[in-house]
Symmetry: C2
Subunit: 213 residues, 2 copies
DNA sequence: GAACTATTTTGAACGCTGTTCATGAAGCGT
DNA sequence: ACGCTTCATGAACAGCGTTCAAAATAGTTC
């Protein structure tokens, strides 16, 4: 026998990721996978319950990879002795931007998939991976000496990262390409600058006067 | 004849929006629309070139409605004599959150649709509607007397609004419900507070030291 | 009103999709 | 060699978007 069961699974996932990357979720077809992997349609369903599970598995790999590049970026800065909070957050954001650009089709598919999942059942391994990303940001914020307790620092980390995420994804809704990358980076610089200054100044957690509904 | 051509189109769009709202893009089926509208499948394709055009038309309606509620919220504050920038931005964010909550299925579908569109052709009426939203935010920022020229104010508006958008959409990736709404609002309060303080303090536009790639 | 033309509505039909499952091939212990 | 288990196979099914020849309807002219 040439290939182990797990080896074939990985081959399938690699093919699936490529398909997602070039055509989005609607390009992930059982027959295409089978053909490219040199197996039959039925065998795909032998390895994975359905295409959703294939998609989920691909997403796991992506989230894992994103976490790894984030940690690597932090380790790089550590090695260079960079401790400045703004620097480090910008570096993380840059890593995120590069990652999204490197996965033009499959990363949007992760988001769309997650959105469908929102109505479905309970939490699972997905959230653990996302939380890991937030924890990295929270760790960076901990280094900067704002007067934040753990809860507020966690809130700040989630807020900051969701904002970066929004900038990146909103940015790619529009059309241009090279100019778009610049625009996104300008927005991120502004966001991070304002965020750090706002936290330094303190009082960011004073209760606002307006609440919805 | 009971219904005009345009009346039937609107009926179809109302049905389509309902379908999108309860089941996302994959719930928008030609046969379901036809059945619920009391016409045949072929007639749907007589009114719209394909389902994508139906989806696009629904999205237009949603974006229009979102712009209208945003303007209405601003008009309300004007009537109450509220001029505080932070107040007004929070009110806009609240309007956006309410809108997203009111369209749990169809709004995500707008985003997913936009993402697919990103790889496709040139700009169209979509972008005009999105720009209108940014302009409202930019108008609010103009009232606040930061030392911003038009370009920088526009950048700040896009940054702020993309961030709010990211918080709202990221928030609904996770699971909980009532607690999730609170979390989102806390993040928005923090973001807006930090943003306004950062802009007031000035210097947010100083060049950062790190750039990607 | 009748006859003719233009327009619109219709739903069967086509090709594609995800998914299933009876069938058969392949491994494996004895 | 035999039975037993496990796995790979692809034809078959239901459902999808989309098309288009034919039927129904509307409109026009006498």
């Amino acid at each position: 026998m040439a290939l182990d069961k797990e080896e074939i699974s990985e081959k399938v996932l690699a093919i699936a990721e490529a398909l997602l990357n070039e055509g989005g979720a609607e390009n992930l077809k059982a027959r295409t996978i089978a053909e490219q992997a040199g197996i039959s349609v039925g065998s795909v369903y032998n390895l994975f319950a359905d295409l959703d599970e294939v998609h989920r598995a691909v997403n796991m790999r992506l989230l894992d990879r994103l976490g790894a590049t984030g940690l690597a970026a932090m380790a790089d800065l550590e090695r260079q002795g960079v401790t400045d909070v703004q620097h480090r957050i910008l570096a993380m954001a840059a890593a995120y931007v590069r990652f999204v650009e490197a996965h033009p089709g499959s990363w949007p598919a992760v988001l769309a998939f997650n959105r469908r999942r929102a109505t479905r059942p309970g939490p699972d391994a997905y959230d653990a991976l996302l939380d890991a990303l937030f924890d990295i940001v929270a760790g960076v914020l901990k280094a900067g000496d704002f007067g934040l307790d753990d809860d507020r620092r966690a809130l700040a980390a989630r807020t900051l990262w969701s904002s970066v995420h929004g900038i990146v994804t909103s940015g790619y809704v529009a059309n241009s390409n090279s100019r778009q990358a610049e625009e996104i980076w300008h927005q991120i610089e502004l966001l991070v600058g304002v965020f750090v200054k706002g936290l330094e100044r303190g009082g960011a957690f004073a209760h606002a006067e307006t609440k919805p509904e």
